[in-house]
Symmetry: C2
Subunit: 457 residues, 2 copies
Amino acid sequence: MTYANAISILKNRFGEQLSTRMADREGHGKDEGGHAPMLPDAVLRASTKNEVADAVRLCARYRMPVIPFGAGTSLEGHICAVHGGLSIDLSGMNRILALNETDQDVRVEAGVTRQTLNTHLRDKGLFFPVDPGSECTLGGMAATRASGTNAVRYGTMREQVLSLEVVTADGELIETGSRARKSAAGLDLTHLYIGSEGTLGIITELSLKLHGIPEKLAAGVCRFPNLGAATDTVMATIQMGIPVSRIELLDELSIRAVNQHAGTSHLEAPTLFLEFGGTAAGVDEQIATFTDLALACGGSHIAFADNQEDINRMWHARHQLYYATRAMAPGKQVVTTDVCVPISRLGDCMAETRADFEKSPVMATMLGHVGDGNFHTIMLADPESATEISAMEWLNERMVRRAIDMGGTCTGEHGIGLGKRTFLAWEKGPALTLMRQVKTALDPHGIMNPGKMLPDR
Amino acid sequence: MTYANAISILKNRFGEQLSTRMADREGHGKDEGGHAPMLPDAVLRASTKNEVADAVRLCARYRMPVIPFGAGTSLEGHICAVHGGLSIDLSGMNRILALNETDQDVRVEAGVTRQTLNTHLRDKGLFFPVDPGSECTLGGMAATRASGTNAVRYGTMREQVLSLEVVTADGELIETGSRARKSAAGLDLTHLYIGSEGTLGIITELSLKLHGIPEKLAAGVCRFPNLGAATDTVMATIQMGIPVSRIELLDELSIRAVNQHAGTSHLEAPTLFLEFGGTAAGVDEQIATFTDLALACGGSHIAFADNQEDINRMWHARHQLYYATRAMAPGKQVVTTDVCVPISRLGDCMAETRADFEKSPVMATMLGHVGDGNFHTIMLADPESATEISAMEWLNERMVRRAIDMGGTCTGEHGIGLGKRTFLAWEKGPALTLMRQVKTALDPHGIMNPGKMLPDR
């Protein structure tokens, strides 16, 4: 199906903002995951919410699919144009509209990136904590219910969004909530749109909670003889209620990858990277309690730092992991996947997943936002080798099935997109029917990011 | 409309569990708010989730309204049977199904009360923090997005529910989430059902987060020359990031009411009641920082206690307020209402509301979960006096309109029910259309708690 008439009208309305050039279509048909490109028919670079609303209204009339596009950093094919249509690029809607320092909240357009926001906030003593690995837009982060390393303390986008403005599937602008910190007023449309992956509408503005930068920050690393000793330490830390800002686990192979990549000589053992924040006395107390717990679980080579340069150096290995893993086998396809389980099952889940890798031809590193029970694998397979590609699929399915069986979820933070739709059905069972009913109610013509999240019938 | 056929089939299926006795109907047709009773045609005392599902399936066939009933402690007429039908009483479904100490979560049936749960948890060192004023069921608390005094630190039911099992409007049992602490898998059905007030289905089981009881607790009181000085202190406390467990404000008239009721001689001034929790050193640090802030804002007569008996004595006045206010004018009708605003507007909102009271014949006390920007009024009016009743309605409307205009919400924690449906329309505007679409999609025959939350068309 082509949308020549719709595109011609869009072109009239939007002029140079509307592009059908191949380079623009290619730039909007593939995200950072391993999914094959699927190009939209046209790309609209929106600069106001009213433009987004107008475009959606027009697409609705022509039943032309609409795919919202932020920074294109998703991993599960969220922005692939499965059925063609219009990619609406919101990255130009990047104004910070209102900062309320007293209320510690901010209103932003959807195209503002988290980095831009935090740069803007730096001299106010405030920050926005949700930090997925890439430079992504806040609208995209809300749409995919993103999280990151700080989630153990501050929660995910689910906890940080006060209200959204969205363009509905018929092109209406609506506000889902208010700036009040809590409300018992009506159905929770805010949370319905958080994580909806563009399938119910397009997020155009966000009201977000902010947090005071802690008086003191400190970082730490701690090595363990095996994964189980590390995950036991994580469990104990969370159970004790130590308010860690970050607690990240890298497995032995991850550290080896970093050493090879960066020429470092970190001890090649499962390693926790931590960050503590609070008052000076509070941070000291957190560190002391954590150290006792870690030692009791078999931790060793514990080191802490409390100036920003040393903290950055300490975290360097963690931040290098994706590139370090890639560098272990140049030319191989990289696929990352993630699951999340109750923390009591994390040790088993990671160990069994590691055992699967040992049996397969696929090389993979593992790392986790382990305070939440969330971990990732970065898998490497030869794209020319059917054996390796199918092994990778098998490993992904095994890991997801295991996580669901352990009471967890098929994705902690990457989302469903194209890649995990079957897994969503595994996880949700009959609840999928309710999701379909909501989708049909709010997008009766099925134009909002079609082919995503919900499995084909 | 009567439902004789449906009731006769229900009677066959459920025997003694199904009652059409007037006493049972009366016991299920009025909550603790000021709304007139509206009786269901029958009451089912459910003992299992499958009974609930069977009953709903049967009601769906006969288009008979279904009203879920927990403890009947709602305030906005949530359980009134506006169109008759079947009240399903879940208070007999009161089993604690699985406690996971390591994961700090618990699975309960919907009829378990928060007090029962906390009694069960006490010797585990864990507790469930959400604490509305009454002895209410956890299912009802989720259905109304309840909160209470601890919300400033722990959040509301919105933050504490991991997953729900619900019976849908066609009698299917579905699970909305998992035990994972976070998930990016699909539409957020859990939050769609939290706060849905029985209009989308019936909550039958809940997975809830638990928290470690802090090593040390301390309580404090602090008096202020005026409301503004108190709310300035609250703003500063929240901005500083002091992790208060509770911060409650009673106005001058509230303290007078308590003194008259209990024969105490508390200083009759706006008063903050606080609770601090954490490590011993952490609590001392919180108290020291708070004291500095309060003194700088004009606070005085500051006192702290750290043994449970003294803490209880200190909080006694706070807990007595509802009864103390009633006792100021015996025989008058009591109506409580609540709003929530951004904390920067709390001082203005409370002061302007107080000024309205001064101009009216209605006596009212004010208190707030002020750390969230949430406050309540307890109003007293003569039910025989049309002037006083209409003044009370005017005051409620003024307060709600003011809160919405200040960027807040028409209810922080009481919910919409029957009483605030018009206000929901004021607050939500075009977003109401989306709520109606979701409602129609998930309850196409309109049998789930009809006449609630959404205004009549």
